[in-house]
Amino acid sequence: MEASIALDTGLPDEDPFAGRLAAETPRLRSYAARLMPSMEVDDLVQETLARAWRYRSAFDADKEVGPWLRTTALRLALDALARRGREPSVGALEEEPAAVESSANDEHEDVDRLLARLDAVERDVLVRFHRLGHSIDEISASLRLPAGTVKSHLHRARRKLASGPRGEGRG
């Protein structure tokens, strides 16, 4: 059992941050195992540690490293899921540049189709918030709607966005 959680992190032993990453690795691996099929767990752990090491200068040394690693692992797992949804033949954590380009076009088309499916107000609110970067208060003022109503439209639009072009979600 010990052997299954022992993982060569490839991090320098003498660095204190590397030491913190190494100490957190077993817990990270347990979390990764809940997110991914067993054959992809090591890839996810390695990619998470590599990313943490790359961006270590952005990490607040006073904070715990565990939540930060779990955030990164979850992001990577969801990215892999999103890619797998679009391109089944592509590996989970690696992607060819040509595939990235074609899938980027696909996702733009998917989102355009989704926006067309939304109610006019939902689409307007979603685009203002996520594309134009307007705040809830700004949208509320320009559409003359209470902030709570704007949020309701926004949250409903997000549910539809999450359900995908063919409405796969649970709503």
């Binding site: 939540p67 955030t71 797992a77 999103a82 989704l114 996520h130 970067g133 966005l161 359900s163």
Partner: protein, 146 residues
């Protein structure tokens, strides 16, 4: 179950409303680990939001204008120095040549639009050729310095 899921969805919305990453929220981290079936839906939401954010209109006009304005300012400065140069100052005796005239021509082409700025000591001319569908639009701006 539904109530718990609504709590999860509310946590995702709350984070996105505050423009934070929902993956940072412990409740979201635990929910997806316990309910991987919701991972696909969350992944689609993130992808859609990312695509929307990446398609944010950028101030392209100003990016194109900056080099143009710099070129015109450079020309104007040249004209200004040329016309304001003190007449009484004699050229160095050792010099066997001096500038008697100059002109500067800047042409910029981008996205089906061509802009040419030509400047001479007393005269600046700006020609712009662009295409709107099959219509060719030619504009010309000429200014003469006193």
């Amino acid at each position: 179950m539904t109530t718990e899921r609504e709590t999860f969805l509310a946590a995702v919305d709350e984070a996105l409303d505050a423009r934070r990453d929902p993956c940072e929220v412990a409740l979201v981290q635990e929910w997806i680990a316990d309910h991987p079936e919701d991972g696909d839906e969350l992944a689609r939401l993130f992808r859609g939001v990312d695509v929307l954010a990446r398609s944010r209109p950028r101030p392209r006009a100003s990016r194109k204008l900056v080099p143009m304005i710099a070129a015109i300012a450079f020309v104007a400065l040249g004209v200004h120095l040329w016309t304001r140069a003190p007449k009484s100052v004699e050229p160095p005796r050792t010099s066997c040549s001096r500038i008697v005239s100059f002109s500067l021509e800047v042409t910029r082409e981008s996205e089906g639009q061509s802009t040419m700025v030509r400047s001479e000591p007393d005269h600046t001319e700006r020609n712009q050729v662009s295409r709107l569908g099959s219509t060719l639009i030619v504009s010309r701006l000429e200014s003469r310095l006193p």
